[in-house]
């Protein structure tokens, strides 16, 4: 049963990588990589149960954190073309 879930998640990873390679716009690629990260978190979790080491959930949790921070950093970079700028206060 864990094998079934792991296979399904591997299929999801292949499909999202295809979209990331083919995606016509930059945002398609970023969305696909974000979904790929979600699938990776699930795959690490299932792999932990599959091999009998449920402690892998620690790695999955950390991967979820890094995935979110990476996506937000990419968004900031595409908007400001610089990771160092402070957030601008919008003048009313």
């Amino acid at each position: 049963m864990f094998e079934c879930a792991a296979t399904a998640i591997l299929i999801v990873m292949v499909l999202t990588i295809l979209r990331a390679l083919a995606g016509p716009t930059l945002y398609d690629r970023i969305l696909a990589v974000n979904t790929f990260g979600t699938a990776t978190v699930l795959f690490i979790a299932v792999l932990g149960f599959l091999t009998g080491h449920p402690d892998f959930m620690d790695i999955a949790l950390v991967y979820a954190l890094i995935n979110f921070i990476g996506t937000i950093a990419l968004m900031k970079f595409t908007k400001y073309k610089d990771l160092g700028v402070a957030h601008e206060e919008e003048a009313a």
Binding site: M1, F2, C4, A5, T7, A8, I9, I11, V12, L15, T16, L18, R19, T25, Y27, D28, I30, L31, A32, N34, T35, T38, A39, V41, L42, A45, V46, F49, P54, D55, M57, D58, A60, L61, A64, L65, N67, F68, T71, I72, M75, T78, K79
Partner: protein, 111 residues
């Protein structure tokens, strides 16, 4: 029929349903026509697919620290998934992409 069997069966059902929704979302991501519709497919993987698979794993874990970690992972993904996708969509709008809406001309082309 004791509780162990019920737990195993519901765990299997959750894992298989989660796998189905993950694959459905990924196929949608590959097949849907433009970026803003693909967001919809990606959110299926983020919420329903991940939720069902993690719930199935939580049923397997029993009362342990692993269960706590699974719940934490799920809560974090529930918070960050929509936030990240919202940020991507907002950046795309800011960059000038528009949703491809079906206009009257498109409907006539279909016929």
């Amino acid at each position: 029929m004791n509780w162990e069997i019920i737990r195993e069966l519901s765990s299997w059902a959750c894992l298989i349903a989660g796998s189905f929704f993950c694959i459905a979302g990924a196929v949608g991501m590959l097949r849907l026509p433009d970026f803003f519709t693909r967001i919809h497919a990606a959110s299926v993987v983020d919420s329903l697919g991940a939720g069902l698979i993690l719930f199935g794993l939580a049923l397997q874990a029993g009362w342990s620290t692993t269960l706590l970690k699974i719940v934490l992972t799920f809560a974090f993904m529930l918070l960050t998934g929509p936030t990240a996708v919202h940020a991507i969509a907002k950046s795309a709008i800011y960059d000038g992409y528009k949703p491809k809406l079906a206009t009257k001309d498109d409907a006539e082309e279909q016929l």
